[in-house]
Symmetry: C2
Subunit: 378 residues, 2 copies
């Protein structure tokens, strides 16, 4: 059994985002982990592994036009790797062992310019209008809208994106051979025409509570930024925002009337600086701007900034060529949360990329790596 | 002519917030400034001064029940002094030379627990409802609501406060012998029953464009915090917010539907960290909490924190007795803008009041001035 076959088998017997399995794969590789499960003790997981047969799953996948994508494949979204260094949320962690994909789009390519738009199932007409318009405008700007295919905001986001004739990515909490919710089967078929349906779970698997939560981490990981449109006090969309913040994605929220219960969570996130207030697509694009089109960047010789992590690079690139910026301005411009931004700024000062002036603002040093800085991609 | 008479005369011939006059009064006193105007050259201001007669103004004031309050009077609001150190806005600066006051309330006492609620004249029904409810809830919590008596949000704020049987402060852009707008005469009469009407301008003076702007600085200066409820792209209420930020007051804004033009300025201020998003009175009270009731603090022996400026004290008091806080949390809790907050935090570290831990958060040092810290007044 090779690496790909081992990952396929693991995706069929292991629950998504199980920390122990994730870590073992990272340390020993999927083949070794699968071999140890087969030869392991009498745990339910080992028994499931020993009774697993790939053929029935592969047969359903083939019939339904579902492919299995693993790290290293051209279609594998590079951003998934960020889940490797991400703190656990609800005791879940790690990148998926593989992704089941259906549709005419190329997941890897779509994920390079993608914004997730998420929110409540029981949204208001206001939320539905805002999500649809926002997604359509993002689509017009060439951004692929990622969401979870649920009723309410998710569906409005997919529909808005499709209305702008832009591919959309639907990340589902169960196997792609079935539609969840079933009423959205026509929507998913339309999404598959130019975009993709994605799931961590093999055909035949149903959504469960924990699978909704692990699915949310894929929505956050697949996109450059996440926009929350409406969510009441308790909402699954809040969980997607938590993942997006852990992944240091750009987290945004749309405000609404304070008299609406659906505006509670967006307002709270904005108030507590967990999300930046956005009112329209241009503001979203501005916030994620410096990240777009990263994949199309021409190959270039080694630069000092090559050693920077993506979040460090975002903060560094937010510093203007001339003049200084405050930490809050850089946090806003880079989309990196303020606390993280401050830590990064200090690190960048230590490493000689930036200096802090006597107004406590940050700027490039007089003779700086800026001369060899990656040109802005926005 | 004594200091009070000189200030009364100056308030009748000098336009509010004229920087040169403000500075001259600060440096030489009102009597000397008045004397120099009288004996001065042929400028329009000197001519106005020489032709000024106090008796007619005083007669109208007496008939209308208007009193003139100057610094040092028991009723003079101590917060007015903050205008002395404030950067000019629209080339205006400085505390008023005196205040004309009408009504049963004590302006100085009311200003110790006061929140201004301001916004657009052409507000939406949503904005009117939110302003009324917010002002009523603030009134119920014992806060006096300050506003400008205009149509729309201002009037809704005064009415909400009056509905909770709490005194309100109306700061008018012209003389208190007339009502501006005239349609609000009944509202102003009700406000004067327990609260006060205030103006920098003597009886007989009409509002002008610049007097609206100088009036806005009094609204900001008279209150601990300012809440913006609704304002379109261009709005006079934006000017009040600018003053409030210059005065380092707590600046707050209420969000609304992104589809409403009236939500533009609140959203923009929140997005650009010029205002904190608030959705209800409890959040306003939380933000201004540590400032309330400062006047009723019992006399106490000298403490290390006595040497701190008011904004430094607010930041210092936002640091919890145990545990650490990030700069953004401290900025929110203290109501001090982030850039200023960061500068203050560094200053407090230098002076031994705080330490910054390895998570880049701020906390009290192991053996700290906290043992002698001013008890929280909230």
């Amino acid at each position: 059994m090779n690496e790909r076959e081992a990952r396929l088998a693991l995706s069929c017997v292991v629950e998504p985002a199980t920390p122990a399995v994730t870590e073992a794969i990272e340390d020993f590789g999927a083949e070794a982990v699968w071999a140890s499960l087969i030869s392991g003790g009498d745990s339910p997981l080992c028994r499931r592994a020993r009774s697993f047969r790939a053929e029935p799953v592969q047969a359903v996948a083939e019939t339904s036009g579902i492919r299995f994508v693993v790290p290293g494949d051209p279609e594998w979204p590079p951003r998934m790797a960020d889940l490797g260094g991400c703190e656990p949320v609800n005791a879940m962690t790690g990148p998926p062992v593989g992704l089941w994909v259906r549709g005419a789009g190329d997941l890897g390519a779509l994920a390079t310019r993608s914004i997730s738009v998420v929110g409540s199932r029981a949204c208001s007409p206001y939320g539905e209008t805002v999500a649809t318009d926002l997604a359509a405008d993002l689509g017009d700007a060439g951004q692929c809208v990622v969401s979870g295919g649920a009723f309410g905001i998710d569906a409005a986001a997919h529909r808005g994106c499709l209305a702008s004739r832009t591919p959309t990515v639907v990340v589902l909490p169960g196997g792609l051979d079935q539609a969840y919710p079933p009423a959205h089967r026509p929507l998913f078929e339309r999404a598959a025409e130019h975009g993709v349906l994605v799931s961590e779970l093999p055909p035949g698997q149903h959504p469960t509570r924990s699978r909704f939560l692990s699915r949310n981490r894929l929505i956050a990981a697949l996109s450059v930024g996440t926009v929350l449109v409406e969510a009441a006090v308790r909402s699954g969309a809040r969980n997607t925002v938590t993942w997006a913040n852990c992944l240091r994605r750009v987290v945004m929220a749309v405000p609404g009337p304070v008299t609406s219960a659906m505006a509670y969570t967006p307002h709270r996130l904005i108030r507590e600086s967990e999300a930046v207030l956005v009112t329209q697509a241009s503001e979203v694009l501005e916030l994620v701007g410096s990240l777009g089109g990263g994949r199309n960047r021409p190959a270039s010789p080694h630069r000092p900034t090559d050693e920077l992590r993506p979040d460090e690079l975002r903060v560094f690139e937010a510093v203007p060529a001339r003049g200084a910026r405050s930490a809050s301005e850089l946090s806003l411009a880079s989309g990196v949360g303020l606390a993280a931004c401050l830590a990064i700024l200090d690190e960048l000062v230590d490493r000689g990329f930036l200096i802090q002036d006597d107004q406590w603002d940050w700027r490039l040093p007089p003779r700086s790596p800026a001369t060899s800085r990656t040109p802005s991609q926005s």
